[in-house]
Every structure is written in structure tokens, then in C-alpha cells.
């Protein structure tokens, strides 16, 4: 029997369509729903005002992350509004029978870190959360994307959302990455090439040997930032790396169920000859350590280069100039040597163990630059424990750094971890928007290696200069 070649995306999407509406969206069944304290309270209010129940409470998982302090988590949360949101999540979860990992729970952490590390995220699933970085879970060959609060209410009440099917894009990166080039550089490079809106309307499949050779942590970093080029999500076909990561995790299938699942997961790949609406091909050898210089993630470049002139940058000149003015940068400036005040390593983009290993590889045997304030924030308690178990904490401590407690922290600065106005941060997070890390804060996005190099030198530094031959 011959079959029509099908993409990974189509295989997963089509198997979840409950109903197709003519000239309208598809009704899509959702396998896993993550909720957190910020985007869920109004959805629960909506349920109550309509008199609706949660349809499948076992398919929703709650964790507190956006609004949590990263020090003294054993004490009551000081900010009354934050405390109120955390309480609402706990109360709503208890009321509807939803699993809740609140502050202090050993499984607590950033939603996109704890889902995979506990085996909740699996290949072939549809996964949503009221958070745009839900695209992270696409690293497992799942269709995962962020939704609004109205849609959170839909999933709670009907386990479905209504979505027009996106177009399909494939981005291939082949070749060998150079020394000091990590997954964050790969994705910042792709976004710089496509721009912050270049994949809007599309769902992306990342393919090619760079991704095949990447760890799950690295794949999560890449898929996490799919939204930063406008894509609804990004995904990577599951393979032996994926299966090895999942096997044995708490909520992963076991025994006979594992065998059944594995047989299905092995079918989850794009068939030879399947069609995409748009394809890009990049060469790994062209990728340098990356850094952003502007106020959207598409404004990134190789760290050794100069900020493009407005004419080369494309888009509106006024918007470009507004962006550089906010950053206090000028066209044609080089980035190397620019002063840095703050370094943040963490977030759903780079808050996993591999990221802290990379950071430690640079700071080992060096000292934190005196004027630098560094916030080192693990993505979860499990990551925090790994940092301790692997001796990374000792390296950090010797170099003058302190480890904080898990949470979203300075990525969006909802808690007290705010970069002061006018200060420069090298951040391993995902957004350099105006005010993202605090009102007036100036963010340069980069990899954990670039962040580490800045943390020990106090200025923007090419990490390759600090790496052993």
C-alpha cells in the first residue's frame, strides 16, 4: 500500500482533529495542559461564571513559576498581589482536582522545565499552556504552543481549542558547529536571518544533522525560541536521544505501555518527499557566538561583528532608530568590549543542567568581575539538585557567584529580580523587548557561554577567547 508522504507536523495535528469547520478553525484535542499562576485565574473565574466544570482534570498540571521569589522561598511571599495569585492557583487546583506543584514542592520549577523532566511531555502529544514558550515541548516531537486565557478556559472546560491549521516551514541546519557554538547561538542565528516576524503563520520543523546531534536540553532551547520569529511552535522528530531522555522518568510510560508508545513514536517523522510551504537551509559553519543589540530577538548578530546600519537592517528606519536609542547603541558599533552590569542565566530557554555546565566551564578558575551582579537561577529544584550533585555549585561559589532558587525570575521580571533602568544585562533568556527585564532595562540576549564570559570579564567578550584549546 503506498501512502502519501506526510510531515511530522501533519501526522500529529491531523490525529488530534475532533472536527473540521468549513472556512473556520479545526477543533483540536489537547493531550496535556500546563497552567501557572499568571494566566489561569481569569479562566477559572470564567468557568465559574458560566457554571462549567473541568472536563479532564488529569490532563492539566499546575506549577507556580512566573511570579515566585528566587530567594527565601520558605518564607511567606512578600508581594501581596503575587501571593494572591499563587494562592488562587493552589485553591483552583484543589477545587478541580488538578495536580499542583506550588512553591516549596520538590517538583516545582518553570513549567517548561518541569514538564519534560517529569515525563509529562511525550512525543506525538498536543500540548498547550498560557505561555508563548510552550513551544519548548516541541523538542520531543509534540505540537506545543502558547495560548491566551480564553483558550485556557476552553481547554479546562472541553479539553479542546479551536485553531486554524498553520502553514508548514522546515528549517535545516547541516554541518558541524564550531568551538563555543551552542544551541542558543543556533536559534539566535536563525531568528536573525528570518526576523522576529519571519515565521508568523507557520509551524516549524527543525531538521538536519545539527539538531540530530543535539541533546534534548539543546533541542528545548531551540524550540523554545520558535515563537521569537513569530512561529506558533517548532518541533524536532523524536529519535533515540529523545527516547533515552524520557525512559524512566516518573510519568513516562512503563513496561508494555512503553513498548506500545515507542513503536508509535518511531513513526513520528517527516516522510521522504513530504511538502512544506517554505523551507530554509543554513550551514552550521556560518554560525558564530551570537548576541542581540536591539529590542527584538531578530536584532541579533555574530558577537565579533558591528551593529548594522539602518539601511542594511530592513524594516522601518524610525523603529530601528528607536530601538538603538533605547539600547544606547549606535549604528556600526562593535559589541565586543561593551560594558555589562548584570548577568542572568536561567529561564525556560537556558535554565537546564547543560546550561549551567556550560556556564561553569568558563567561570571555573576565574572570578566574577567586581561590578557585575549575577543572577544564577535554576529552572527547577531538580536542576538545582543536579547543580549541587555535579560540583557546579562549588565552582560557582569559588568564583564568587551565588545560586538562587528556581523560577522565571529576571526573564520577565514579575518578581523582585528586576534589572534597574539604564543598566545593561547579558541574559540567557528569550526576549530583549523594552522593559522586559525591568522598566528601562537594556537586554542583550546570548548563550550561557557568552553570559559566563561577560560575568568574569565585566564586558561583552567572545567566549572562545576564554576556552581551552
Amino acid at each position: 500500500m503506498s501512502q502519501i508522504p506526510t510531515t511530522l507536523f501533519d501526522k500529529v495535528w491531523d490525529s488530534h482533529v475532533v472536527r473540521k469547520i468549513e472556512d473556520g478553525p479545526d477543533v483540536l484535542f489537547i493531550d496535556r495542559h500546563f497552567i501557572h499562576e499568571v494566566t489561569s485565574p481569569v479562566a477559572f473565574l470564567g468557568l465559574e461564571s458560566r457554571g462549567l466544570k473541568v472536563m479532564f482534570s488529569g490532563k492539566t498540571f499546575a506549577t507556580a513559576d512566573h511570579n515566585t521569589p528566587t530567594i527565601n522561598q520558605h518564607l511567606p511571599v512578600q508581594d501581596a498581589l503575587s501571593a494572591n495569585q499563587l494562592k488562587a492557583l493552589e485553591t483552583n487546583s484543589a477545587k478541580y482536582g488538578i495536580s499542583h506543584w506550588g512553591l516549596g514542592n520538590p517538583k516545582n520549577g518553570i513549567v517548561h522545565v518541569v514538564g519534560p523532566e517529569n515525563g509529562i511531555t511525550l512525543p506525538g502529544m498536543t500540548i498547550v499552556c498560557g505561555d508563548s514558550h510552550t513551544s519548548t515541548h516541541g523538542a520531543f516531537g509534540a505540537i506545543a504552543f502558547g495560548i491566551g486565557t480564553s483558550e485556557v478556559e476552553m481547554v479546562l472546560s472541553s479539553q479542546c481549542i479551536m485553531q486554524p491549521k498553520p502553514k508548514k516551514m522546515r528549517i535545516k541546519v547541516n554541518g558541524k558547529l564550531g568551538k563555543g557554538i551552542v544551541p542558543k547561538d543556533v536559534v539566535l542565528y536563525i531568528i536573525a536571518k528570518l526576523t522576529a516576524a519571519g515565521a508568523t503563520g507557520y509551524f516549524v520543523e527543525f531538521a538536519g544533522d545539527v539538531f540530530e546531534n543535539m541533546s534534548m536540553e539543546g533541542r528545548m532551547t531551540v524550540c523554545n525560541m520558535s515563537i521569537e520569529m513569530g512561529a506558533r511552535g517548532g518541533m524536532i522528530a523524536p529519535d533515540e536521544t529523545t527516547f533515552a531522555y524520557i525512559k524512566g522518568r516518573e510519568k513516562a510510560p512503563k513496561e508494555a505501555a512503553w513498548d506500545t508508545a515507542l513503536a508509535y513514536w518511531k513513526t513520528l517523522k517527516t516522510d521522504e518527499g513530504a511538502g512544506f510551504d517554505l523551507e530554509y537551509n543554513f550551514d552550521a559553519a556560518d554560525i558564530e557566538p551570537m548576541i542581540t543589540y536591539g529590542t527584538n530577538p531578530g536584532m541579533g548578530m555574530g558577537i565579533t561583528r558591528h551593529i548594522p546600519a539602518a539601511a542594511e537592517a530592513g524594516g522601518s528606519k524610525a523603529s530601528y532608530e528607536k530601538s538603538l536609542e533605547y539600547m544606547g547603541f549606535h549604528e556600526e558599533d562593535g559589541m565586543i568590549g561593551k560594558k555589562v552590569d548584570y548577568v542572568f542565566i536561567g529561564s525556560c530557554t537556558n535554565g537546564r543542567i547543560e546550561d549551567f555546565r556550560a556556564f561553569a566551564s568558563i567561570v571555573k578558575g576565574r572570578k566574577k568581575a567586581e561590578h557585575i551582579t549575577a543572577w544564577i537561577v535554576p529552572g527547577s529544584h531538580i536542576v538545582e539538585q543536579q547543580i549541587k550533585d555535579e560540583g557546579i555549585l562549588d565552582i560557582l561559589t569559588e568564583a564568587g557567584f551565588q545560586l538562587r532558587q528556581p523560577g522565571c525570575s529576571a526573564c520577565l521580571a514579575m518578581n523582585d529580580d528586576k534589572i534597574p533602568a539604564g543598566k545593561y544585562a547579558v541574559s540567557t533568556s528569550n526576549r530583549n523587548f523594552e522593559g522586559r527585564q525591568g522598566p528601562g532595562a537594556r537586554t542583550m540576549l546570548a548563550s550561557p557561554l557568552v553570559a559566563a564570559a561577560a560575568a568574569v570579564t565585566g564586558v561583552v567578550t567572545d567566549p572562545r577567547a576564554l576556552m581551552a584549546e
Binding site: V18, I21, D23, G24, V27, F29, D31, V38, T39, P41, V42, L45, G46, R50, L52, M55, F56, K59, L81, N84, A88, G124, M125, G130, S132, G146, G148, T149, S150, E151, E153, M154, S157, S158, Q159, C160, I161, M162, P166, A196, A197, T200, I227, G230, R232, T260, N296, G315, S316, A318, L412, A413, M414, R431, F433, E434, G435, R436, P439, G440
Partner: protein, 198 residues
Amino acid sequence: MAYDKFTVLKSSAVPMPIENVDTDQIIPARFLKATERTGFGDNLFRDWRYNTDGSQKRDFVLNNPIYSGKILVGGRNFGSGSSREHAAWAIYDYGFRCVVSSFFADIFKNNSLNIGILPVQVSAVFLDKIFTAIEANPAAELEVNLPEQKITILTTGESESFDINTYKKHNMTNGYDDIDYLQAMKSEIQLFAEKSMY
């Protein structure tokens, strides 16, 4: 019925010719701490609109009394970034019912439609015509006609058609939302769920 019906809207418009207006600008994260859906309009474009001491920034368009209306006209890639529906709530709460741009970020567009704001995507050329018309006359009105899927600059008579799928158009013109629709197909969803491997 989840929100007000939208049929024909005739209004002056507020011009914001900035590209990549992300949802962190529309409503910064520190204002997302409410557990109810009220009052977000006060903090719409907070850091572009107010100085740190709470005084108004005089050069920001929302603080310029010559511009007003229920239509916000933004530059390309409007609503990018965070999925926070609070951004759409803030725009609605401030008094806008329609946002016009040459390109919208996906999640913002969905969120808007889900709460009764109509996102109208026009060509880059037509967007420029709107900005020019408002520059010539800040009181220039636009007419957004959803049944006919047409937007007209009333001072110049220029118009362009816009896309919206039949399902969403029906919802907007009747004030229905997706939750109403999904509740009506619960038994079909139940059957589907029973076959699901997860």
C-alpha cells in the same frame, strides 16, 4: 453571549506607526498580577505612556488629545511576543474595539478575536494611506464594516477588503465565542478522548 456584537464601526483612530509592538509594551509583566479581568486599560502602554514618577509622557500618542477613537492603527507585526491575553484586555478596557495593522502576531490575533476586538489586516500600502489620512486630519474617520469585510477611510473614500474566516465572522457579528461552540459538542469530544493514547 460572551461580548458585544461587532458589525459596523465608524470612528476616528489613534495612529501608532511603530513596528513590532510587542505585548510587553502593550502591558508590562509587572501589571499581570491581578486575578480578575478589570482595570488593565489604566496600564495600557504603561512605560510608553507614563514617566517613572507617574506623569504623562507628552510625546506619546495616547497622551495627545487630538487623537481619539475606538480604532488603534499599529505598524507591522503588531502584538508579537508573550501570549498574555491581558494585552487584548488592556486594549479593550481602554476603549478600542478594532486594531488595524499590515501584519499581526498569531497569538495576539486569536486572543483579540476571542474577546471581541476585531483585528483588521490591511496591505502595507493601505496602512500608509491610513496614517497619511490621519496625519492630514486627526479627526479622520475610518469605517470598519465586518459583514462586508471592508475598511474605508471616510475622508478620502479609499477602501480595501480584509479577510476573516466565516466561523469567526459569524461569532463576532453575533457576540458568540468558542466556548459556546465547544460546549455544544462535548459528547463528540468525550468519544474522541476515549480513543486517545494519552
